[in-house]
């Protein structure tokens, strides 16, 4: 019974990561990709996601 609860835990932890990122005020900078690359140790998965999406060109 508690095994299934343990399965949910990683999900909530992942939510905390986004929360932790959003808790800090935005910084005035241009290169979002560079910013995320420098922080890939701190947010491994979130940085991967950011690199995927921020590298999409607008045309």
């Amino acid at each position: 019974m508690f095994d299934s609860i343990m399965d949910i835990v990683p999900m909530s932890l992942s939510g905390d990561k986004l929360k932790r990122y959003l808790a800090v005020d935005p910084e005035d900078m241009k290169d979002g990709l560079k910013w995320w690359h420098e922080r890939r140790g701190m947010f491994p998965q979130l940085s991967r996601m950011a690199c995927d999406y921020l590298s999409i060109p607008s045309e």
Partner: protein, 170 residues
């Protein structure tokens, strides 16, 4: 100014487009500009509506657009939300500054959260195994691979999202 940058991305284009739209709307309504300028703005609007009516003449085009536009705009909303939220310069502040209500900001945040849970939270093990020797090139290759994956899941998510939206309206 935005368009002079090396590589324009969604995060730079969308605020720029919003800005142009805002300036055009306010300046065409204000008394600040002389009559000739207001008149040319009106002519511009007429030309636009002429093009709109031309597209209306083609039935096939209309049907195709009616099917395509909701789908494309969903992808657009989806990409925009993720793009802006994950850009360290904007995060949720962009939405707050532009007068989005709390519920819409929460939706934008949830889009990012759902996509993260769906496609990225499970990268944990793979990431731990490879971080020890990750070089810049390794990182680029994996980024490309997961980017292809993202595009694949994107279409399914958009269909889900569209279903949820239509169910709400019924």
């Amino acid at each position: 100014m935005y368009f002079l940058r090396g590589t324009p991305t969604l995060a730079t284009i969308i605020p720029a487009m919003d800005h142009i739209d805002k300036v055009l709307t306010t300046s065409s309504d204000s008394d600040k500009y002389s009559i000739p300028i207001c008149a040319s703005l009106t002519i511009g609007k007429h030309t636009l509506s002429k093009y709109y009516s031309k597209t209306g003449e083609s039935e096939v085009y209309q049907i195709a657009m009616s099917m395509l536009v909701p789908f494309l705009s969903l992808i657009y909303i989806f990409l925009t939300a993720i793009h802006l939220v994950l850009h360290p310069r904007h995060k949720l502040e962009y939405f707050k500054r532009n007068g989005w209500d709390e519920a819409s900001i929460e939706t934008a945040r949830n889009i990012v959260q759902d996509e993260f849970d769906r496609s990225y939270s499970l990268l944990d093990i793979e990431e731990n195994q490879s971080t020890a020797s990750t070089t810049q090139t390794d990182c680029n290759i994996t980024v490309c691979c997961s980017f292809a994956n993202t595009y694949y899941t994107l279409t399914t998510i958009c269909t889900d999202f569209h279903l949820v939206c239509t169910q709400k309206h019924v």
